[in-house]
Each structure stands twice: as C-alpha cells, then as structure tokens.
C-alpha cells in the first residue's frame, strides 16, 4: 500500500500511509483507537475508497488512480481475507454451511460432503481443530474465530487481516491462536495482526508498523523493538511508568458475601482491590448483577458495611454507597442516544441536588456534568452532545465520572478497560487505584490476567460459577491462576 490518504470531512484518518507486507511475514499493526488502523485495513479490503493512494498485491495493482472498483469481492478473489472482530457467521448453520455461504466456488448445486472434506483437510494442515458438522451456535468464541480462518483459507487467501483477534479470548485460546498464526506463516501465508496488546505483538510478529494520528509513527523489526519503545510510538507519552500503588493496610470489611448462588463467599475490605480473573461467561455477570441489585440473588447474604443489602433494590444500594461499572457500554452503563448530561444523571435522579420534588433540576444536572467533565477530562464540546458521538475512552470516562464521582464506599467494576486504547485504559486503572487509596473497597472483575495481576491486592479466579479463595498478590502463582481460568484445576 502506498501513500494512502483518506479524509472524513475535516478528519484526516489516513495521511499518506505506506504499508508493505512481505511473503510469509506477520506484520503487526499497532495504534490507539482512532489512529487510522481500521481505515487503512478497510481500504486494503476494498470496503472504503481512499482519496488517493495505490494498493498493489502480488505485482498487480488492485487500486490506483485508474482503477476505483476495488471491492471486498475483488479483494477476496485476489487472495486477501479479513477476519473481523465481529464474526460474519450464521449461528443456526453448521460450519460447512457457513463456509459455503456466499462463496462462488461452492457451486450452483451444493456439495456439502466435498466441502466438509476440504474443511477437515485445512483443519489438519493448520491444526485448527474445526469440525465441519458442528452448529456454530454451540461453538465457543475461539472456535468461531477458527471457522472464520478456515473460510478465508478455503477462499484462497494468501494474506489474512486479523482485526483485534485476541480481545475476547482466554489466555489458553490466545496461545492457540498464536500457534495457528505460526502455522499460517509456515504454510506460506502472510498476516496483518491488528492489536493494541503489546505483549502479543512482541510474541508473534516479525515486524511492527505503528500508526498515530493517521500516519506511520514507527516501523521496526521485532528484534529491535521493546514494549516501551512501541508504547512510546503509539501514544507519544510514557505509559511505561509503573502503576503507582501505595502500600497500606486495608481496613474493615466493606463487602461481605456469604453463600451467594449457593457457593460464593468472600469479603472486600476498605482500601483494598479484590481482583477476579476468569474467562467471560463463567458466572461473573450474574455475580455482579446480584451484588448491584440488578437481578435478585437466588441464595445467600450480601452485607455492605455490616448492613444486610440482600433484599435492597438498585436505588437503595446506590444510597448505601454501592457503585457499579457494567461491562456493556453500548446499552447498559450508557444510553448512546442520550446526552452526556443525561447519562451522567442516569443513576442519581432520585436524590438532591438533581431531584427537585418530582422535577429534575436541569441546571444542577448541567453543573454536575460540567464539573465532572473537567475532573475526568471528558473531551466534548458541551454536556448536550450525545454519548454516541464520543470515542470509547471518553464514553467510559462518563461512566467512571458518574460512579466514582459519587464517592462510593464500594465499586464493582466489570472489565472497565474493554475495547479501550492503552491511554484510556491506563486512565481507568489510575482512577480506580485512586479510589482504593481514598479508602474505598473495589471488586475488579476482568478476563485480562495482566490487569488482574497489576491491580489486585488479593486475587481470585472465577470458573464454572465458582470463585476460588482469594490469594494475596505476593503469594500468587501465575501458572496456577492460568490453570484455574482454563477450568483445569
């Protein structure tokens, strides 16, 4: 790709980017959200037309000034495959049917048996462990990703674009995927690996191209790169400074849980972060919703500062000092179509100063929003802008500002850095640590082992609806945690 330029109105998404991917090379494409990674890859895959620039694949020009009909269909025909973050599979169909779907070479009359054989063959060659007869709905996230990879391989892709492929995988699944990428390289494929996780990029890539503000800010061979140097190229500020955690002894028990859902018991103390690792879908959602009062607890007792809150509703728990950052920003912790001010007020409309009898005190809402926008550095032109127009990082700052700004005694946080670039993620972690240092109790639930290890004063693992007994950070055995997460221990 040479000199790719793409402007959206005043926004210069790509400002003359060059990207060269050699044969049998795994090239990492690093950059914060909004740095131009997705735009560049969409140009490569024919999904958007650049303002100028050329794309040459195996010596043939796919896109230059004369030719503007570069489309995904042509990209696939030329041998480029893209695995999107959100899969394009039909849940109700089998793997074979999904592979045949929308594929010219599947023929007018479908021959599922022949296709199934080819899937098995590919699965063996690339050690993908994909079974053609499985219904997609029953497959795990990691397995679905492999189905997408099979699809791309059978369609003859020589270059695969993987868009943030590890963001929803457990550590063992990530290791498996990296193995698959190595096999792809051995078999003569090239890969563009889009990520903002430095450790994975360091592990799998041959070279790294870093984008910042729509331009290439660095291009290094992996042997010459360090995590610190890559991070600096990405954000132009030093993220390598270790997270500050003041040592202090934790205080009295703030949250005490006994026999929740039958078998979950733990405490979280004042000034302490209990970090819970675990692959998504192992009961974390239910645990947090039970604690926050969104769904009623089936069994057990929950106490906050000694008061039994098991039967309290969301409103009463809020008043008791419980704050909650849910995992889903797109419709739970935020209403995208609502303004920043409305989102900021969302959980506090029932108390003064926002409540004024049956009315909502609009000026108090605006004032609070302005104060918190300043305190949490939320970048928007006014409190009346819809949340959907902000970047993911700024959206999460609204949630943080609302939940932390209330000065809670207990914060429940469920993957609050999900989908955020390193700068925004760091901001979230720093804020949570500040809250801990101020004496609040924090229950931090995440699938990111690294985060859990960095943040937790004590660490536990959730697997199959059970919580392992929390271990102080000093005596943590990482292998043991990994085993627990994989459900193997």
């Amino acid at each position: 790709m040479h000199g790719i330029v793409k402007n959206y109105g005043a926004v210069r998404a790509n400002r003359g980017i060059d990207l060269i991917v050699g044969e049998r090379r795994v090239v990492g494409l690093l950059g914060e959200n909004g740095s131009g990674k997705s735009t560049l890859m969409k140009v490569l895959f024919g999904m958007i037309r650049p303002d100028s620039g050329r794309v040459v694949f195996e010596g043939k020009a796919l896109l230059d000034h004369a030719r503007v009909d570069h489309t995904p269909r042509r990209a696939i025909a030329a041998g480029i495959g893209m695995i999107h973050q959100h899969f394009t599979l039909v849940d109700a169909m089998t793997v074979t049917e999904n592979v045949m779907l929308g594929w010219d070479q599947a023929g007018v009359v479908l021959r599922p048996a022949a296709i199934a054989r080819r899937i098995e063959e590919a699965s063996r060659t690339y050690s993908l462990a994909v079974n053609p007869g499985d219904v997609v709905a029953k497959l795990s996230f990691g397995q679905r990703q492999r189905v997408e990879i099979v699809k791309a391989i059978l369609r003859g892709s020589k270059l695969l674009i993987l868009d943030e492929p590890t963001s929803n995988l457990s550590p063992p699944e990530v290791a498996g995927l990296l193995g698959v990428i190595r096999r792809l390289r051995e078999q003569g494929h090239s890969v563009v690996f889009i990520s903002h996780k430095l450790s994975e990029v360091m592990e799998i890539c041959d070279e790294v191209v870093v984008l910042r503000d729509g331009a290439v800010s660095g291009h290094v061979q992996i042997a010459d790169a360090t995590r610190e140097s890559l991070a600096r190229m990405m954000v132009e500020r030093d993220l390598s400074a270790p997270i500050q955690r003041r040592d202090h002894t934790s205080g009295a028990a703030v949250l005490t849980v006994e026999g929740l859902s039958g078998n979950i018991s733990f405490t979280v103390r004042a000034g302490e972060i209990l970090a819970v690792a675990g692959v998504d879908g192992n009961g974390q959602q239910e645990l947090l919703d039970n604690l926050a009062g969104v769904t009623p607890a089936r069994a057990g007792r929950i106490r906050l500062n000694g008061i039994d809150i098991t039967r309290m509703n969301v409103r009463q728990r809020l008043e008791a000092g419980l704050a909650y950052i849910p995992v889903d920003r797109a419709g739970t912790s935020l209403v995208p179509g609502f303004t920043i001010a409305d989102n900021m007020a969302m959980r506090d409309i029932n108390r003064p100063p926002l409540a004024f009898g049956p009315f909502l005190n609009a000026s108090a809402v605006r004032e609070m929003t302005r104060t918190r926008m300043a305190a949490f550095d939320i970048r928007a032109s006014s409190p009346d802008v819809p949340a959907s127009s902000l970047s993911g990082g700024n959206q999460q700052k609204i949630v943080l500002a609302r939940e932390i700004g209330r000065q809670p005694k207990l914060l429940l946080a469920f993957q609050p850095t999900w989908g955020l670039d390193p700068g925004a993620a760091r901001f979230v972690l720093d804020q949570i640590l500040l809250l801990r240092d101020a004496g609040a109790a924090v229950l931090y639930v995440s699938a990111e082992l690294e985060e859990v290890m960095t943040l937790g004063d004590r660490i536990a693992v959730m697997s199959g609806g059970r919580l392992s007994s929390p271990v102080p950070r000093r005596s943590v055995d990482v292998t043991q945690i990994g085993m627990l997460m994989a459900g193997a221990a």
Binding site: V294, G337, D342, A355, F359, R370
Partner: protein
C-alpha cells in the same frame, strides 16, 4: 476544561452533533418535506382521473379554511388527535407501542355518556365527573393491556389492538341495550342535557373548550417528558431496557404508568368528543381515531409539542376533504392517501437522516 477535540492526543474527533432544539428543527423540516411530497404524489391519481390537482387542492384548502365555521370544525376534529397522540408519543418514548387508542376512546366516551345521562347535581360538576369517568375508563382499558403484558408476556401491540374490537363492541352493546334511545332506529343514546355539554370557546362558534384542554395537555406532557424524574425514567426505558434495569428503573412500573396515562388521555378524548361534538353517544363515533393518532405521533416524531401541529394538519386535511369531493368530484378518501404517504415519507426521511449521520 472544554477542550476542542483536536487539542487532545486522541484523533477521534466528535462530529458536530445537533442539540435538542436543532434536532426539533430537523424533524419539523422532515415532516414538511414529507407532506409536500405526499401532496405531489397524490396529484398523480387526481390527474389520472382527469381532474386538476391544483383545483382539487384549492377546494381542499377552501373547505378547511373557507370560513370561521369551517375552521372551528377542523379544530374540533383535531382535538382528539392531539390528546390521543400525546399519549401515544409518551408510550413511544418509553418504548411501548399503544395502538389501542380506538378502544380507549370508545370506552372513555361510553363512561362519560353514562355519567352525563345518569349523574345528578350541579351541571358543571356533572360535566367534570363525566370527563373524569371517561379518563378512568380509558386508563383502565389501557391498563388491562399493560397488565396482560406484564403478567402474561403478551405483547402490547396485540392486546391493545384486540381490545379495540372489544371496546367498540361494548359501546354497541350498550347502545343496543340500556343506553340506547328508545325508538331512534339507530344505535345512539338520548341527547345529553345541554348544560352538561362542553362550553364553547367563543359565543356563536362551534369551537368547544376541548382544544384548549388538548393544548394544555400537550404542553404538560412536554414538561413531564423533559423536566421531571418520571419523564426521565420513561426516556430511559425507551433508550435501553438494560440501562433502565441498571439505573433501578422498574420496567413494570414504567409500562403500567405510561399506559394508564396514555389510555386516560384517549378516554378524555372520547369524553370530549361526545360532550363537545355529538352531545350524545353514537355507535362508531370512535372509528379511526386510534390509528390516525398513531400516524400523528409518528409525524410529530414522538414529540408531545410537535403533536399539536401534526394533529392540526390531519384535522384540517380531513375537514377539507368533503369540500374537495363535493366541488371537484375527487373522492375524499384520497385524503387518507395523503395522510399515509406523509407518514411513509416522514419515516423514510428519518431513516435516511440517521444513516447519513452515521457515515
């Protein structure tokens, strides 16, 4: 504090997004364009029937605005649309679809008529009592649908729709039975005492006070929706059900209260219709109200204040339709084509706008 986006290190630049005022201007513009397109397209069948659309539309305008009486007639026609559509708009905002306006109007009119015929006491109090009875009956009718939704999980589209038939038939049954006028030969109640009927806004005009009530209701609903905690909860329910759960807003409470409110307004419309226009209960008096009001609410983009002009448009259109038929020979039902096309174009424009903004 309010840094422009370009100052930050992040390259994500928020697009200038319109606030609520300019949002309202946009949807007004959309509605006007949709209406003009609807008139334009409806010209085709008028032309095909050998008539001039300009002449037809001119007589339509004449019929609607030709004299003070015509205007009063059209305003009276718009009144129930305002009331019902305000309730439906509130439901839309809460993510609830109430298409049971017709049944709620019917039982509201029935209850009002019963009180008007049977209650004793000072005439003014009887009138208030009768209207209150209409509100209660309409609210109960909608509340029934809400209760079925909440306890049995039957979607409110289905239950409100089916309750329409029952409501209309209950009115017929009453008129063919105890409430019918003996010997009238048509299912209608006896005339109410003139003193319990709605007073006129101006002497010598047919325009009754219902319009004033409706406008006050629309303004009140606007305040309710945007300035109160109750309105915030409704908008939250409509914005995202799981966000509402997270904020501790009860789905059941929201659905029930907005349905009671909406049904009550429809019941009030039914009461105003019998006390202000017919002075008696007539079989089929509620016909089409509920569905036209859904169209009004859609054209108004579920904005309670915008419901007023949208309802007036429909009211004047229907008022002028008869003149158009009489004078030019163009069937008055073409007016319904205009109504329908306005909605189609308005919804298309809404969809287009949304898509354009996303890109």
């Amino acid at each position: 504090m309010l840094l422009p986006d370009s100052v930050g290190q992040s390259t994500q630049v928020a697009q200038p997004v319109p606030d609520r005022t300019s949002e309202r201007a946009r949807s007004a513009l959309r509605a006007v364009i949709a209406v003009l397109l609807a008139f334009l397209v409806t010209s085709v069948p008028i032309l095909l029937s050998g008539k001039s659309p300009l002449v037809a539309y001119w007589s339509l305008i004449g019929g609607a605005f030709g004299s003070l009486d015509h205007i009063a007639f059209a305003l009276n026609k718009s009144t129930p649309y305002v009331l019902i559509a305000v309730g439906i708009a509130l439901c839309f905002r809460a993510g609830i679809i109430n298409i049971g306006g017709e049944g709620q109007v019917a039982v509201g009119g029935l209850a009002t008529s019963w009180f008007a015929l049977n209650a004793g006491g000072p005439a003014f109090l009887v009138m208030i009592l009768a209207l209150a009875g209409g509100v209660a009956a309409g609210a109960a009718w909608a509340g029934l649908a809400a209760a079925i939704r909440l306890t049995r999980g039957v979607h409110e589209v289905l239950s409100t729709l089916l309750l329409n038939f029952i409501g209309v038939l209950v009115v017929s049954a009453a008129l063919n039975g105890a409430m019918g006028e003996p010997g009238a030969g048509f299912p209608q109640s006896p005339l109410f005492d003139e003193s319990v009927c709605l007073p006129k806004l101006f002497t010598g005009s047919d325009l009754h006070v219902g319009l004033a009530i409706a406008v006050i209701v629309a303004v009140g609903a606007q305040i309710l929706l945007w300035r109160t905690r109750f309105g915030f909860r409704l908008r939250l329910l409509g914005g995202s059900r799981s966000a509402a759960d997270y904020a501790g807003v009860s789905f059941a409470g929201g659905v029930m209260s907005v349905m009671l409110l909406s049904g009550g307004l429809a019941g009030l419309a039914g009461g105003i219709e019998v006390l202000g226009v017919h002075y008696r209960l007539i079989e089929g008096f509620s016909q089409g109200f509920g569905f036209t009001a859904v169209a009004v609410a859609l054209l108004a983009a579920a904005d309670p204040l915008a419901v007023v002009p949208a309802a007036l448009f429909f009211g004047f259109l229907q008022a002028g339709a008869l003149a158009m038929q009489r004078e030019v020979g163009v069937p008055s039902s073409l007016v319904f084509v205009i109504q329908g096309l306005s909605i189609v174009f308005a919804l298309c424009a809404m969809g287009l706008d949304r898509r354009r903004r996303r890109v």
